[in-house]
Amino acid sequence: MSKLLKVDGLLTRLHDGTAIVDGVSFDIAAGETYALLGESGCGKSMTALSLLRLLPDGVENSSGTMVLGDTALHALTEREMRDVRGGRMAMIFQEPGLSLNPVMTVGEQIAEVLALHKDMSGEAAKVRSIELLTQVGIPDAARRVYEYPFQMSGGMKQRVMIAMALAGAPELLVADEPTTALDVTIQAQVLQLLRETQQQSGMAMLLITHDLGVVAENAHRVGVMYAGQIVEQATRERLFAEPLHPYTQRLFAALPDARRSGQPLSAIPGNVPPLGSIIQGCRFAPRCDRAWELCREQTPELLAVEGGREVRCHLYRNAEGRVQAAETPPLPLAEERNSALNTQHSLLLEVEDLKVHFPIRKGILQRTVGQVKAVDGVSLAIPQGRTLALVGESGCGKTTLGKALLRLNPPTAGSVRFEGELLEGEAHRNRMQMVFQDPYASLNPKMRVAEILEEGMAALHIGNDGDARQAHIDVLLDKVGLARDSKWRYPHEFSGGQRQRIAIARALAVSPKLLICDEPTSALDVSVQAQILNLLKSLQDEMGLSYLFITHNLAVVEYLAHEVCVMYLGRIVERGTTAEVMRAPKHPYTQALLSAVPRIDGAGKEYVRLEGELPSPANPPVGCHFAPRCPQAMPVCARTFPDMTHAGASTHDVCCHLYPLVPN
C-alpha cells in the first residue's frame, strides 16, 4: 500500500529547548485511520499541529521530515503551506464551541474554505455549503447555513467543523480529540459520521485521542505515545489482542469495567513525568514495575518485532526478550475485596420527589415567565455502605441534584431523609459531603493543604483544639495516601490525581457517612483515574461509606456502583442494580446510552443510533421526555409521561410505556 503521509524523526521544542515531540515517526496510507493514543501532555496534539505547521507561539519544529504525497511539508514556504492547509490537509479540533468564529455564520465560514481552495464564490459556494452541511447530517441545512455557531448544539458545531474540513476535499484529515467534549450519544454520532465520510471519500485520517474505546472502534493502526515519544506501534487488532509495551499493558489494565468490579484496578503508580525531566533511560522506567538498571541507563530504541509491530522497550531487545515478553506475567491484582459489608443494608439516604426549578425572567418587570426544571421529581435511596451511580448526559440535571442534597442549590420541593430523619435547613453538613469534578478548581490556590482540610472541621466545630485537628489531618492524609508533610504545601505543587486525593480528604475531614462524588475522575487521565477509583473503593470497604456517584462514564459505573439510576432531562427513567441496568437495560434511552459507549473489545453489539440531542429543560417535550428521540416511540408516548413500573426483578424499575404496569 502506498503511503500518503510519511513523518520521520519529528522533533518539536519549546523555546527553552525542551522537546515536547521527541523523534516521532509514523506513516499513514490513503484511506487509513491512524490513531495517536496517549494521556494528556504526551505531545500528541503538538504532533498534529506540527504537521499543519500551526504551532503556538513559543513552540517550534526543529527537525524531522513530513511528506504528504510527494510534497515535503517541512520545506514549503509559509505561502505554499497555506495552500496545503484546509486544502490537501484539514483539521478538526477538540472544542467545537471555541473553534468556530462566534460572529460569523457557519455558511460564511465554510464559504471561506471554498473560496480559498475551490475558487467558488457567491451562489455556487452557498449551494456547495448547503450540500456539505447536508452531507454531515445537519437537518434543514438550507436554513442552518445562515445560523451562527451559538444557535447550534455542541454536536452540531462539530459537524459544521467536519463540513468545513471536507470543503477543501482533503487527502488527510487530522482529528484532534474530536469527540472528547461531547456526550457519549453525540460522540457515537460524530464518530460514525467520520467513518462514513472516510469510506466515501477515501481520505486518510490521523485520529488523536486518549480514549482506548474510540481507538478500538475507529483506528486501523495505532501509535501509543508517552512523554513525547511513540512507545508502541501496531495494527489495532494486534495491539488490543496483545499489548507489548509495559505502559500499554498497564493502560489496558487500568480501564475499569464490570469484569474487574471485584478487584482493585491495576493503577499505574506516579504521574506522567514533566517534559524534559528524563534525559537518560526509558521515560516510563520510574513507573514501570518491570524496569531494571538498563532501563534507567540506556534510552531504548523503537524496535521492530514480528508482525510489523514496533515497541520501544528493552524487554524486546533480543530473541530471548521476545520469549520473555510472550510470558507476560499476570497483572498484579490485590486480594479479593472484603465482602463483609455486603450483607445487610439499612437505608441511609431517602430522597422523595425532589424538585429543583430555576425561574426564567423576562420583560420590563422581569416577571417569571417559566421554569427550568433542572430536577423534576426525583426519588432515590442509598443504603448504608453502598454506591448509587447517577448516570446521564450533560444537562440532565444530575449535578444539580447532587448540589441540592447539600443545599448548595435550594430545592423547590420534595423531602430528604437521612437515617430516617427528615432533613431541614443546613444541619446535616457533617453527614454528607461532596467531591467535585475539577481538582484544579476545587482547591483554593491560596491555602495550604492543612488549612484546606481544617476549614470544614472549624466550621462544624469538630475537634476542640488545634492539636487534635492536626492529628486528625495526619490520619486523613494517611488514609488518602499522601505524605504527612504535604500538609504544609500549596495545591499548585500537586498533580491532578493528588489534588483529587486532597479533595477527598477534605470531605472526609468531617466524618460524613455519604460522599457525593460529582464526576471525580472525568478530569483525570486513565492511569490516574484508576488510582482514585481504587482509593474510593478501599475507603468504602474500610469506613462503610456510601457514595452517590454522579457520572457519565458507564465503565466507571460498572466497576464501582452497586445500583444505578439513569437520568434524562431532570427525571429518573430507569433504576436497578448495576447488573440489571447494565446487562439488561429496559429503557430505550439506557439501551442507546450503553450501545453508544465505545468498547475496547468491540465485540459484536448492536448500535442503537439516537436521533437529535437533549432538549432544553426549560421546554421539555410533552409526554415522555425521550419520545422525540426514541426509536420505539408509540402514539401514547407523545401524550403522557409514563409511570415507574417494575421491569422483571423487584429491584429493577423503568419509566416507559413499553413496560405497562403489571397488575400483581
Binding site: 479540533f93 462566534p102 460572529v103 460569523m104 471561506e112 480559498l116 481552495h117 451559538f150 468545513m164 420590563i364
Partner: protein, 325 residues
C-alpha cells in the same frame, strides 16, 4: 428590543434622581447657601443684608425641601430643591450667575465642542486601531516591542505637555495656525486642526496599547487556529476574524463616550479658546458658578446613560449572540 429600551430608559430615571440628589446634597446641604454667599461676596464685606440680597437674587432664599409658608402645591414646588433640581428633568437649567440662560448657552456651545471632539474621536479611533493592528501583526518582534515602548512613553507624558508643546511649536515657532480662537464656517478649519491633531496624538499611547491587548487576547483563541488551519493568510485572519470579534470589547469602551463628545474637552477648549462646553465648564468652575456646574453634571450623566444604552444597542450589531430583551 422596544421593551428592552423602555426598561433601560425607566432604569435611567432612578439613576438621574440619584445624581440629582447627590449634587443637591453637595451644593446645598454640606454647605448652606449662606456659606456660598459668604464666599462669593468675600469674607471681608459680609453683612447679613448682603447675604440675603445675594440669596434672593439667585433664588436661594427658599427652604431646601419643604416650604411650610407656601400654599398647598407650593409646599414642595416653592423650594430650592424643586426649583433648582427637579426642573432639570425637563432640561430647564435656569440662569447662570451672570444672568444668562444656561440652556440656551449650552445649545450654542455644543457646535464648537463637537467640531473638535467628533473629528478627534473618529480620526483617533482609526489611528489607534491601525497602530494596534500593526503591532499585533508583528507581535513578539522588535517592531512590536518598539511600538509598545513608544506607547508607554507617550502615555507617560502629561496631556498638558502635548497642548502647550504643540501650541508652542506649531503656532508660535512655525506660525502655521493661530494659537487660539474660533470662527464658524469654513474658517473654523485653521482653528480646529491643531486641537484635533493634539487630541489624537495625546491618546495614541494608552488607546493603542489597550487595543493591542484586546487583539492579542483574541488572537490566542481557538477559532483563530481554525481560521489558520483553513489556509487563510495572517492578514486575512487578522482582518476578517480577529477584528470582528475584537469589536465587541472595543465597543464597550468606545460607544459609551460618543454622547459625551457633546461635552467637549475641558483642557483643549480652554487652551485654544474654543467657545464650547468644555471651556464653559472650566470658566464656571473658576468663577464658582454653581448653577452652571450643576447643569453640566446633570447633562453629563444624561449623556453617559445614553452612552450605556447605545453600547447595548451596538452589541446587537456586531455580536449575533446578543438579543436585547
Amino acid at each position: 428590543m422596544i421593551a428592552y429600551l423602555i426598561r433601560r430608559i425607566l432604569y435611567a430615571i432612578p439613576i438621574l434622581i440619584g445624581v440629582n440628589l447627590l449634587t443637591f446634597a453637595l451644593f446645598f446641604v454640606v454647605n448652606t447657601p449662606d456659606d456660598m454667599a459668604r464666599m462669593q461676596l468675600g469674607i471681608k464685606r459680609v453683612t447679613p443684608e448682603a447675604i440675603d440680597r445675594w440669596k434672593q437674587q439667585r433664588g436661594y432664599d427658599k427652604p431646601l425641601f419643604v416650604n411650610t409658608a407656601a400654599d398647598s402645591a407650593g409646599t414642595f414646588t416653592d423650594t430650592i430643591f424643586w426649583q433648582k433640581s427637579a426642573s432639570m428633568f425637563v432640561f430647564d437649567f435656569g440662569y447662570s450667575d451672570d444672568g444668562r440662560n444656561i440652556s440656551r448657552e449650552i445649545a450654542t456651545r455644543m457646535g464648537p465642542s463637537l467640531a473638535i471632539a467628533l473629528p478627534t474621536f473618529l480620526i483617533g479611533l482609526v489611528v489607534y486601531v491601525s497602530f494596534a493592528l500593526l503591532m499585533t501583526l508583528f507581535r513578539a518582534t522588535a517592531l512590536d516591542m518598539a511600538g509598545v515602548a513608544l506607547c508607554v512613553l507617550l502615555m507617560s507624558i502629561s496631556g498638558l505637555f502635548y497642548i502647550i508643546g504643540g501650541q508652542f511649536v506649531v503656532s508660535k515657532l512655525w506660525h502655521l495656525v493661530p494659537i487660539s480662537g474660533y470662527a464658524g464656517g469654513a474658517d473654523s478649519f485653521k482653528f480646529v486642526v491643531l486641537p484635533i491633531i493634539i487630541g489624537v496624538v495625546g491618546g495614541v499611547g494608552s488607546s493603542s496599547r489597550w487595543y493591542r491587548t484586546i487583539f492579542l487576547e483574541e488572537i490566542g483563541k481557538d477559532y483563530v487556529r481554525t481560521a489558520r488551519a483553513k489556509g487563510l493568510s495572517e492578514l486575512r485572519v487578522l482582518f476578517t476574524h480577529v477584528l470582528k470579534n475584537a469589536m465587541i470589547p472595543i465597543l464597550t469602551g468606545v460607544v459609551v463616550v460618543i454622547p459625551l463628545l457633546f461635552m467637549g474637552s475641558l483642557l483643549t477648549e480652554s487652551f485654544f479658546g474654543i467657545p464650547g462646553l468644555g471651556s464653559y465648564t472650566i470658566d464656571a468652575i473658576n468663577a464658582q458658578d454653581f448653577s452652571v456646574v450643576r447643569a453640566m453634571v446633570f447633562l453629563g450623566s444624561v449623556l453617559y446613560i445614553a452612552g450605556l444604552i447605545l453600547t447595548d444597542i451596538s452589541y446587537t450589531v456586531v455580536d449575533p449572540r446578543v438579543r436585547l430583551q
